[in-house]
Subunit: 213 residues, 2 copies
């Protein structure tokens, strides 16, 4: 309910209207579908025609519900960020015993996806397309990347508590570093889709955090 209200626009602002035709599509599902298109094609590369086809709705419904292509893009970016598309399993495994294992899995899945689907993190793609020029995009992306850093930081913190990582190390910087590696592998991976090479690169990136593995 609260979720639905977020998407009410000018024409639709009376939240507790007494008379209204019910919406025939699921807003969340429509955003998810649009996200897939933006993810593949980027903002400029995705046309309204394509987006509407993917969402399965008409122009009338769309502009009543979302207002503009740009607004839809922001929603799609938020959806990507809030569903943690590229690192779901990290949150799903908060009790994983070994940080090394978790992060190794993160990189392995990343490499797999990069090579098989040429799908890179949508936030990274947005970063390069907008170069921080669009403040709204910038904020969403910044939050999303901080989120990834924090998830990694949590893992590293637990590892430090259990002794898997030595006490003196600056985990804040290490999580930034691993995040950078995360994006670097994607760019390199699309340009040169060689699994073996990427796995070696990932292993080196991790070896600085876990010198004993």
């Amino acid at each position: 309910m609260l979720f639905i209200d977020l998407f009410r626009t000018k024409r639709n602002r009376k939240a507790n209207a007494k008379f209204m035709r019910t919406r025939e599509f699921d807003t969340r599902q429509a955003i998810a579908s649009a996200m897939e298109v933006f993810w593949r094609k980027g903002y400029k590369g995705a046309s309204m025609t394509e987006l509407l086809a993917a969402m399965g709705i008409g122009k009338g419904s769309f502009y009543a519900a979302f207002g503009s292509k740009h607004e839809l893009y922001l929603q799609a970016l938020r959806h990507f960020r809030d569903t943690g598309m590229l690192f779901k399993h990290l949150k799903a495994l908060p009790e994983a015993n070994f940080a090394y294992e978790s992060l190794r899995k993160l990189f392995d899945q990343l490499i797999e996806r990069t090579i098989n689907e040429q799908k890179t993190c949508m936030l990274g793609k947005a970063v390069l397309e907008f170069r921080g020029q669009d403040p709204q995009v910038a904020e969403i992306v910044n939050m999303g990347i901080s989120q990834l850093e924090n998830v990694i930081l949590e893992i590293l913190s637990k590892a430090q508590a259990t002794g898997e990582i030595s006490k003196g190390r600056d985990l804040q910087v290490l999580s930034s570093y691993l995040t950078a590696a995360f994006y670097g592998i994607q760019v390199l991976g699309v340009a040169k889709p060689c699994r073996e090479n990427l796995e070696q690169v990932g292993a080196i990136a991790l070896s600085i955090v876990f010198p004993n593995q």
Copy 2:
């Protein structure tokens, strides 16, 4: 002369014509100007109107000389690659004494540019925009990134010869790894333009290659 011939199109195919009006613009300079626009805006984001304005030529001249926007983009990408835009100094300093210094400088300049101009490597931007879908773009980018890897590899090789890097290490993988770091720092840098953080990340990335620094 050979350079000019590369840009002859259908209308212009008689290479040794006896009668011809001389071209009023410098092809190379025009490509360089177009490159700046593509670099900032991407392929889809750059309109012909913008490109022509930047190049300072009219439609007639343009289509006679280049054939299409896509063709111009390929030329611009090649120009970017062949002028080594983002790592000029690495080639300028082949006799640098210490590999660590050279690479440190590479990362410092990269961070500076990323933060000040939000300008990331055009090849990386092309990678994410095209996702390896355009074979011509893919080939140019692949070559360009290999070029960067090779420049780094050369530096590492010399360092291994002088003992700055120990004998047993796999330099091939290390240069791929540093290339990934190179791109990762850019993505992270545009998303979160914090110089201190990026410098620390860069230092960590290098520390695995030069554990004694």
